[in-house]
Symmetry: C3
Subunit: 315 residues, 3 copies
């Protein structure tokens, strides 16, 4: 594997999930693989889980890790071509990516969307330029439209915890106070559409995701209908795809509570975190027996380790 940016970069989804679970059972079995190899983790945006779990995954494989908060420890990068750089950007992504490629064997990059120019975000302008110019294998640590390490960890969690084959998995929209990217729901949707699950998306009118990511999913505007007999409920807020980055008004109450789960198949409740309590998800669910959010976050290590292992084997 030379690139891990979406589910389409995975040749055998089942094998990758199985590999992650095997690494969870035996984390230190492949430490020779990463000897004298360096992973650079480049953050253009904040991170907690991704930052820590990917470091841990790399160290488990014997790699060295360098973390760079490029905005805070370096400077603002120029992303547009053919401009005279006489403003506030100090270095072009062409040079910055190229140079980082000189210092690392594998690079992880986090680059959130601006949520202003949909074309720029959905062509993954920043991420793809970085990949093009760094010349090394790249792992997405969340890009403008996808968060594949999260989605792999989610699928690992579902595989690990399911109590019947082809479980019903529901992605349900949740409220928020500010517009969030569509990266996590897009990514979860495209992974679930390829996985052996019965996949349903529930969201208010106006919050439909790009159909590019939802082929094969059942889509509904009725949360309760979606939850019936569900095994896994994935809760997440996102802003509108059209009008892009906006928050159309929602009059119904989409905040899940224990009562909402009665019609499920004793569903596990998932969230990528960070979660705003009592806005996106209620205390009673997060502190109760349905929630698996911390366990799910723990699986981020094994997802990252499975991906890094494949990349190391192909260096």
């Amino acid at each position: 594997m030379k690139l891990f940016s979406s589910v389409n970069d995975v040749t055998d989804l089942d094998a990758l999930v199985a590999q992650a679970l095997q690494l969870k059972a035996d984390p230190f079995a492949h430490q020779y693989l990463g000897k004298n190899k360096t992973l650079a983790l480049v953050f253009m945006n904040p991170s907690l889980r991704t930052r820590m779990s990917t470091q841990k995954a790399a160290r488990n494989l014997g790699m060295d890790v360098m973390v760079l908060n490029v905005d805070k420890e370096g400077w603002a990068l120029e992303l547009r071509d053919n401009v005279i750089m006489n403003g506030t950007t100090v270095e072009h992504i062409r040079e910055a990516a190229g140079v980082m490629g000189e210092y690392a064997d594998i690079i992880g990059l986090r680059a959130f969307p601006g949520l202003k120019d949909r074309d720029e975000d959905y062509t993954e302008m920043i991420f793809n330029k970085f990949v093009q110019f760094c010349g090394k294998p790249v792992v997405s640590l969340e890009s403008a439209t996808r968060h594949p390490l999260q989605s792999l960890a989610d699928l690992v969690t579902i595989t690990e915890l399911k109590i019947r084959s082809r479980p019903k998995v529901v992605l349900t929209w949740a409220p928020h106070v500010k517009p969030l990217p569509q990266a996590v729901p897009n990514s979860f949707a495209e992974w679930m559409c390829k996985a052996d699950v019965d996949f349903v998306i529930a969201q208010p009118k106006g919050y439909e995701l790009s159909t590019k990511f939802t082929q094969g999913a059942t889509i509904t505007y009725n949360q309760q209908e979606a939850l019936a007999d569900a095994d896994f409920i994935y809760v997440k807020n996102w802003s509108a795809y059209e009008p892009y980055g906006k928050m159309p008004e929602v009059t119904e109450d989409w905040l899940l509570k224990n009562d909402s789960l009665k019609i499920t198949n004793n569903a596990k409740v998932m969230h990528c975190l960070p979660v705003r309590r009592n806005l996106e998800l209620s205390d009673e669910i997060l502190d109760g027996p349905h929630s698996v959010v911390v366990h799910e976050a723990g699986n981020r290590v094994w997802a990252a380790q499975a991906v890094l292992k494949q990349m190391l084997e192909n260096l």
Copy 2:
């Protein structure tokens, strides 16, 4: 040891000090202990000595270290329960701590007090919630009311440099321009009260520490009286316990100079650092033969290493 938050977590104080001095003599003797173990250092506030010395201590033991500046590299954490998180906090400490516990074998946490709500600070609300929810052994890197790694390093320094048994140790208040926490003096006091020293606290009226930390100490408002025949002088500013976090006016001059040391037993002068020169402590003392402040800071490594070693042995 599963928790290192105060002197009360230490079962054998003399043994722990002896262990630290043994590690100083042979720093790399236990590198097998930390193999494949990860220490996460989580900072909610700035740090220089604690950040570097604890990293060094962990690496000496063969551990991996991950450093997280949670506010700067992550986001603001919500600390209160039962709130709707529709403000500026992005993640609750319940999830954040739980998730960090998934990625580390031992966690160090720095969380300063707000100095506004004494009950909140003195119940160690933040630190204790973190301990409760992370599910892993926790080392305090300075909490609202204590700084135990500093106090252990201080006791190691006194043990190492004393020239008579049961030395006289004086904690003396020093001036400052802004209100500082009571964590360092509280902590130093409770460690000295348990150590085999003659312990005196000198401070201006209005700066009495909570009696919870000073049981067994001689307390005086007269600095010169306190310094007579002293072997060690620990200089530190702190704000008032009552009215909490305030700075009652002080009319006498509490800034130590060489002349002030004449009546001591050729005392060593200590400070936890950072120290504001000529405000808390004079140039002539800091640059003269009495000062051991840099040596004392060096002992932070062995204090941290002794604590981490005990924790690793009990994982």
Copy 3:
């Protein structure tokens, strides 16, 4: 080697360059050297290349690395002596440097000039105080007036890529929108003056460097004249030495384009990076066959590794 702050700290320039190229050919041959040794990288200013390449170099030698962004993760340091620290500085460089010396075997320090007080900058007040008080070998990661790791990497690059003995090397001034330090051009000049090259400096009137760094160089105000038959062109902006830190008006066009290179000996174009595209250097050069800027940045690893190796051998 106990100090690496300028070309004057190097006893055998050819041997050091040869060592760097040998390490490039066999990066992991000396991992035993750094075992249980710690490099602290202390940044008072932003950094990308230096931060990453020096980490990589140290790890290649088996060292541990601690990175400290002293302003962001710690606090503001006081640099002046004999002051009452009742303002915004929290710790004096005397204590800060001394303490860091307790935690590391070798220290790298980056401290940019203020560009206001030339005497302060050109006596290297900050850097030299740090060296004095830390008590450990120090590597400059760019100081007020020099950037020796960059210059060594530049000489390594020239040695590696030259197609004739005693190549012609031109340092040419380039435009910018704000005043930059003279550290890189000063340093490049003093290294080139000691190397076996034909060295020319071209700059507009008012931008003459201090003659302390340019002894032996040919100096001209005519860029095209300088470029004739050049093998290497080093492009860089700097502010005036006199009046210090100012930007005297320049009416000619100093921005290099492909056409400017026609009279060269098919010259390689170098830059220390970061470079502002189409302000300092044109897209067509940076994206064309003349540019070696990314390759040059890659050589930063081997320059740093050669220096660290010499220091480790002398610990």
